[in-house]
Symmetry: C2
Subunit: 391 residues, 2 copies
Amino acid sequence: MTAPRTEGFGFRVVATVGYARAAVLTTPHAEVLTPTFMPVGTQGCVKGLTPDEVAETGARIVLGNTYHLMLRPGAEGVAEQGGLHGFSRWPHAMLTDSGGFQAFSLGASTLGKVGKAPLVKLDETGFTFKSHLDGSRHMLSPEEAVRIQALIGADIQMQLDVCPPGESSRPVVEEAVARTSRWAKRALAAPRPRQQALFGIIQGSCYADVRRAHADELASLEVDGKTFDGLALGGFSVGEAIPKMYETLHAMAHTVDPERPRYLMGVGTPRDLLEAIDAGVDMFDCVLPTRNARNGQALTRFGRVVVKQAQWKHDKRPIDPECGCACCLGGYSRAYLRHLYLAGEMTVLRLLSVHNLHWYGELVTSAREAIRGGTWPAHKSATLARIDAGE
Amino acid sequence: MTAPRTEGFGFRVVATVGYARAAVLTTPHAEVLTPTFMPVGTQGCVKGLTPDEVAETGARIVLGNTYHLMLRPGAEGVAEQGGLHGFSRWPHAMLTDSGGFQAFSLGASTLGKVGKAPLVKLDETGFTFKSHLDGSRHMLSPEEAVRIQALIGADIQMQLDVCPPGESSRPVVEEAVARTSRWAKRALAAPRPRQQALFGIIQGSCYADVRRAHADELASLEVDGKTFDGLALGGFSVGEAIPKMYETLHAMAHTVDPERPRYLMGVGTPRDLLEAIDAGVDMFDCVLPTRNARNGQALTRFGRVVVKQAQWKHDKRPIDPECGCACCLGGYSRAYLRHLYLAGEMTVLRLLSVHNLHWYGELVTSAREAIRGGTWPAHKSATLARIDAGE
């Protein structure tokens, strides 16, 4: 696909090595070089950071969570502030998920609190659930997810899908896939602004054959002349063994329509990214770099640095002397970062968030360069070896 | 005093209107234009911010708390990292308090927790106290406060003093003054790096005659050829009525040696600053702008804006359309800031901290300009009227 399916939207592969590929994803708000990592701005804000700082890590697309935003401040509230771009002041590209995953997991988590069952109802219509904030009742259908995401106004919408737990049986997975396909058609049929793209979501857990069939089905789907602008891999990193995820990705990601961007949802560690890029994935999002930062963990090219550890008490080195982020270049020593963490100073959570996102940015940027330069296999091995070896 | 008493240290008055004055305070790390406000970096960090952001608010001197730093990471720990400048990466001027005030107030606050009395012992030697962090035993004498502050390495040290509660009787206040004077001599006599200045502290609560006498005594104090580089007004804003503080300041601040900087410790609101500048004060510090920011309060030229209020739910305006800070210029609407606050996003605490410190910076900078331009009385009245009038 070189001609855009949606206004202002395009995708062009510029180099491949094996299944790994470097491409350019064009959206109304930014040209995104892939492989790319999307920092997560759950509530209209990448936690602890400003848009400038997020952009400085190399990110040109961020993810917003529909579930959180529809409940607070509400999709209409976001729309009246100029959409999520105007509201959050992020000027580059944005993607929103459909809200289904959180409606299910967070809605279900209120079960014990409120004591009434069921708080999440899933049927052919969609999800009916109670807000984890105030118990108010809400509904997400494939059509409603499109309508809400249109109000939020990201560059890319995701269809509502059904995500079975990681180790589900084949019949359960096949049922989820079938419903996701029916919802895919309804999502495509729903009215949506011309400048907003829509991605379909491939399910199938670790049954590679199920996923391949689903990928083919979604790629060939056309409703009223409309097709998906990209295809995502959902239902990974939801409880299955990591080697099984890698095995499945290597068995099927490259079979997803090569003319559309492939997005692996909610994954993962630096190793996950490298393996998935190798399998043919272009886009990623994960809370890991920002969440780990808030837990005092720096992710680096030589593994993790847990800042509170006593071994850094007298250490004058930055987190990573080779890193170009504001934290490492700013001269903050491990001893100082440890001090701030133990003292409960939130500045350290910012600095580690900046560092971790910068490292993720470097990870995907250097992967892209290696793919373009033809050195990807060696680059991937060397990067993994360095992470494993530690300092 | 135009010749420096301490190496690299000087103070030069450049304009006066009534008792109000504009001056230049020279320190080894920065030339500080006064009146000046010092953001508080209690634990080696202005809460939520980076040194760059603090400097962008106009601040060229920050305050560090000796009590907190001596307990964690320890004065030796700070020293081995290049002192507080190297540790915290703040490149401009710094001042440390003596630790006595917090040793007394925070040490005393552990009384109820631990259940043994007394946890703070005050006698002619100094303070003996238990850490509020781990109950470990510590001592602060006038000499030890100088030694510890030397290790921390700020540009300006404060002498250890005795600060009586706000509404203390005259005999109690006179006893505190007498002991503070004896400690002043011991502090001056203590060995101290040549490039570190030392300020004496005037006590006397709201007894203006006691404060005038104490100011004269400390100004004339000379020990081994050493004199104080500045004179501070301690023991204000510790429980007394605000009008009484203003009355006392107007009655005595201008009598403090005009050749040395006058520093009003731990005060205060924008109104407090304006009144104190009018009374002849040059330097301020207070946690109010940063603490209020963390409580969701923006301080502005037209009073307070409490961001969580429902009235901002649809408000697209920045906190202050006339403000040049990164929060207001960044285009963050009140609706967005309210959303972030309600959602528990720490980014809003940063943005409000930047805004509040920027407003304090503007407050002292515009005061300075008005003093230099001879328009100070009208400027003061107009600024106060605008704060009172609200939006």
